[in-house]
Each structure stands twice: as C-alpha cells, then as structure tokens.
Symmetry: C2
Subunit: 349 residues, 2 copies
DNA sequence: GTGAAAGCGCTAACAA
DNA sequence: TTGTTAGCGCTTTCAC
C-alpha cells in the first residue's frame, strides 16, 4: 500500500500501457502502430496516435533495444576532434544517421590505444550496431575486440579480413596527381612533400601516392624533400623550417593535410617568404578554413560528406542485412584539386 | 525445440546468467559484485570476477537503464560544431563525463529551432540524466520541453526559474575590461566593437559589457563603431568593411568572438592595413587557433575546460541529489586577457 | 551474506 | 485485425 501511494503521487512519464489504456486497445496494438505495422486498422491507429499526442508519449529506447536487440546507435571514432577535419566529418555523419533514425556515439581516440580501447568497450556496452573507425591508422589493437563481437565495422584505408567489416578506400592519387600536374604546368621542378606521421595509414598512402605521381612524370624526389611531420599546424611550421635549412630548396611544397599547409603558410610569412611568389603551397583535405587562409589555400579536397556517407552506408548495409554474401565491402571516396591562391609560377624556376 | 536448437548454435554474448553459472552463484550476487555492493564475501566476489574475466562479460547498459531508471547518459547541445570553440568544449565535457562513468550524446542545433526540438526529443527518448544547453541563446522553445520532463538542465547565461535547472554565468566583464584598459593604455581612443548576433544572449551580454567598460573609462562609443556581425569569419570580414567605409575610423577593434577577429585580420591584410600598426584587434574565446593567426591574436580567454567542468558539475549535482533544496544553482566562469601580437600603439593616435 | 523472484517498458510469437 | 503472453538482461526487494 505504501508503494502504491508513492507511485500514484509521482506523475510517471507515460508508458505504452497508459497509451493503450487511454486508446482502449492492447499494448501490442500501440507497439504495432508506432512501428508502422500495416496490420493495424485505421480506426485503431487513429485512436492510438491521438492518445500518444495527448499523453506526449514517446517510447523508451532502452526497453526497445533490450527486447529487439537493436539499439539504433552507431559509433564513430575519430582521431582527434580538435582537428577541424573531424568535426565536419562528424557533423555529416550525424546528419545522415539521424535522418535514418540512428543515434551516434562519438569518441576521439587522441591517438592513444588505451583511450581507444576504452571507447570501444563503452560502445560495446551500449550495444552499438556498427562502428566507423575513422582514425586513419593505429586501429589494429581494437579491431580484434570489435570484430570478435561480430559487430559491423567500417575502416578507412585498412582492409580487415573479417566478416561484417568493410573498408573505405580513399583515392588520393587522382587529387595528388592533379596537384603535381598543376605545379609542373606552372613550371615547378623542385617539389617537396611534408608527410603525415608514418603510423597513420593515410599518411603513408598519401606519401606513396605523391612519390608515384612524381615518378610517373619523371620528376626527381630528393630524399631531403620528403619530411615526416605530424598533421598539425606546429608540424607544418617545423617542416618548413627543415626545408629552409636545406641548401637546395624546393619551389613548391605539397602537404599531407591542410593543417600542415597552414603551418607552412604561417612560417613562410614569418620568414619573409611570399606565398605563392616565393613558394607554392598545396594542402589536402579542404577544411572549411582553407578558403580563408592568407592566401587562400590551393588544396586537394577530400569531401567529408562523401566520407561520412560511405561510412554510414557501409554500416547500415552490414547492420540491416546480416550475412548477405554479396554485400558491398569496399567503398571508394575520391579527391580533387581545388585551385586557390597559394600556388603560382616559381620566381626562380 | 527448434528454438532451443537455434539458441545453442549461436554463441550468444555472455549475460549475467552465464557468469552466475560459471561462478556457481546467483545472478543477484553477480550484480552486487559488479556494482561494488559491500555485502558480498571476498570468496564469492573473487569467483565472480574470475568468471567475468573468463567470459569477457560486460553488462548490457540498456537492461541496466531500464531497471534502474538511470541511463548514465548526459546530453550536450551546442550551437554549431563547426565553430572550433565547440569541439574543444565537447572534448572537455566528454573527458570529464567519461571519467565519471557517464556517456555523452552530442547534438548541434545549427541555430535551427526545429533541429533543436528534434535533438531534445532524441535525448529524452534515450533517457538522458541531464542536458547541457550550450547554445548561448535561442534556447527558449526547448526549455519548456525539457523542464517539463523534470530533467536536469544547465544553461549558459540564461536563468530559468524551474526546478533542476542551473545556470552558468560568464563573467565577460573582467576580460573585456582588461582588454579595454590595455587598449587605452596603449593610447587608443577610438575603439570599435564587432558584436555577435543579437539573438544570442552571450552576444548581447558581451556588447553590454563592452559599453559598460567604455563608459566607466569615460570613453565615447560612436554608434557606428558597434556593428552587429554573426560570429563567423565572413561576418568579421564584412564588419571590417563597414568600419573602413566610415569617415572617422577606429584605431582598435574588439570582436565578440575569435572567428570574427580572424575575419578582421584577414580583411585588413587584403586591404593593405597592417595589424597591429594600423589597427589593433582583440578577439574573445581564445580558440586553439588564435595562437597561430598572423599576427597571433590578442584575445579574451574563455576557458572551455572551465565551462565544461561547470556544466558537468551542475548536471551531476542535480542528477545525483534530486530535490536537495540547498543545491548550487549558479556557476561562474571567468575570462582573462591573453596578450599576443595583434595589439600595439596606434600609429595615428 | 546469499538467493529467489518480481518487474523495468517494450517487441514478437502465438492464439483467437 | 487484435489481444495475450513470454521474455530481453538486469537491479532490487524480500526471505532465508
């Protein structure tokens, strides 16, 4: 009796039973109505919706997940939410996911395996239906954890031979090739590359694609002109300094990402070098900010929207058609050159 | 029978029952062990942990939430994840929340009431235990929705007279006052202000604090020198243009946020104006990037970490001590001036 | 200190 | 077409 009294004092949030009672139907009918089952007569369906509106009822997703086994949550793990590339990516991913009735759980690994492992564990606890691991490298330790739990995974630039795992391949070579063509057309012969950290698959791929593009044009690649940086603005600053310390300096520099390129822009300015007259600079990513640097950055665009779309599609297919053998397992996202103001003819060819 | 067969073929993820069976205890004991109940003997507790390790078991949070009524999820709604201020804020908030065993749900309202309403609804469905609404304005339409559901809310710069609602007050005036003092000390007398959109509480507060600081120093504030921008880089560019079109131009400009200031820096450069010699520029926020602008931006720091910490604390107190009358309901986050390279003596006093 | 059992709010099988 | 009912995996009384 005490409990009953307590219960009736608290104005509980409405549950499926209250709706059923008000609409004078069974809870099964309410459930069917909400889930759009065709097997409900218009008459009852109308009564149910009315009751729902009246009570301002909405389903408890935890109960739903528990019984259906489907959480409608997707995880997305990025490397570092502080690099502008990632918020833009997350934003796209969220929009698509929400539009399809999914919720997302975001985590950043900060390039730390321990953090990453904790992220994955949390996602597993929340019973995510899939995880997009967009850390561009270093993901090996977690892959097993995830794959072992038989949950859909999509990786960027890394193939994992495991069921329910798909890969997004990034075609950097097209964009990089265009950039090199562009520089060569302008008259550049001495082109440097400021690479990303080699522990990142994407960084290695970008560097390889740079080398391949140069080679195919029979352009020399001086060892000293390929420098490993770290995809941060500071990294770009120090990469530039290393280039400047060289006896034979390049007239153009292609950077593994935009943040690096922005660092170069800044360092060049501090050094009294004019971009693009004294040095041409090309970035990669085309983050929103690239349009607003001084001068505006010529860069290789990697569309976050395309990437997000591919990641979502991959996960959805795996999640919604479990064990379909002829599932698409690889997705390709392309890149393209965006011409702005940071490239020009070299002053000293 | 068919079902049984099916069940035994699928290697189900371990549940509390499997653990109990392996440890030869009841599921209640497993539950108590996991939740650190003191009423479990060391002997059994050890057996349970061993079984947990062996099975790699972890609890299903949906089941847990369902029965306990506590989801251990906190929501955070920001205005626009694409403004660098917000990812940094989210990152801090996430770190703190995760460290305390909470998960977070992130949404950006994009200044759109419909989107905002949908966000809130989704958070309600997921049974969040609290929501930090850090949109700095425009939140009125949702507040009712949230407050009506009796869930803890924390707002920035907006008091809502509703139970379980707390407010984070931002003391801009200290920082803004320091900035004005600094400019006046340098010899500036003509100081402009590029405001944020007036629909944002924070923008209005910042502008008022600017006026108050000027007034207290008996400095004139020309109407034409206070221009409403929109807190974006583009807004800063056009704000600068408006200032330049004036007959009597200011020698210094304080901006309502860093993105605006960066826009001014850029526009000034394009116009051939040197910063800080020809124009001093002060930002507000101190986003990570402010350190790397050209020249490095003098700005009023608003610590994301402090803000995140205050938001988390507010929510946690409300969530964990429901209906404690003497709860702290207001939190103060302060600002301070960070001197860098974008301010100097005016060339033409 | 430990276990049995009653649900949390919902979906889905089965019956009618 | 609709209702009844058995759980989903867990926490939490309540007995022992």
């Amino acid at each position: 009796m005490v409990r009953k009294a307590k219960r009736s004092t608290t104005p509980k949030t409405p549950d499926i039973r209250s709706v059923a009672a008000l609409a004078k139907v069974s809870i099964a009918t309410v459930s069917r109505t909400i889930n759009g089952s065709p097997a409900v007569s218009d008459r009852l369906s109308q009564r149910v919706w009315q009751a729902i509106d009246q009570l301002k009822y909405f389903p408890n997703t935890h109960a739903r997940s528990l019984v259906s086994g489907r959480s409608r949550i997707l995880g997305i793990i990025v490397e570092n939410i502080t690099n502008p590339f990632f918020p833009e990516l997350i934003q796209s991913f969220e929009e698509i996911a929400v539009a399809h009735g999914y919720e997302i759980l975001v985590s950043s690994s900060n390039s730390d395996p321990v953090t990453l492992t904790a992220c994955v564990r949390r996602m597993l606890e929340r019973k995510v239906e899939g995880v997009a691991v967009l850390t561009f490298g270093e993901e090996e330790p977690v892959l097993d954890q995830l794959a072992h739990h038989d949950i859909p995974i999509v990786l960027a630039e890394f193939r994992l031979d495991s069921p329910k795992t798909s890969t997004i391949l990034l075609d950097y070579s097209t964009g990089i090739r265009s950039a090199i063509d562009h520089l060569v057309d302008l008259g550049h012969r001495r082109i440097a590359f400021l690479a990303g950290p080699h522990k990142l698959h994407s960084a290695v791929t970008r560097e390889n694609d740079f080398r391949a593009a140069m080679q195919s044009l029979a352009m020399p690649v001086d060892k000293k002109w390929v420098i490993e940086c770290d995809h941060t603005l500071k990294g770009g600053v120090s990469g530039f300094a290393q280039l400047q310390a060289l006896q034979s300096r390049p007239t153009a520099v292609v950077c593994s990402n935009d943040m690096t390129a922005i660092g170069v822009l800044r360092a060049a300015y501090m050094d009294g070098l004019r971009v693009p007259q004294d040095l041409s600079v090309v970035g990669l990513d085309d983050i929103d900010f690239a349009e607003f640097t001084l001068p505006p950055l010529t860069t290789i665009r990697l569309s976050r929207a395309d990437l997000a779309r591919a990641a979502f599609e991959a996960l959805r297919q795996q999640a919604e058609n479990p064990r379909d053998p002829k599932m698409q397992r690889e997705f390709l996202v392309s890149t393209s050159l965006v011409l702005r103001g940071s490239t020009a003819k070299p002053a000293t060819p």
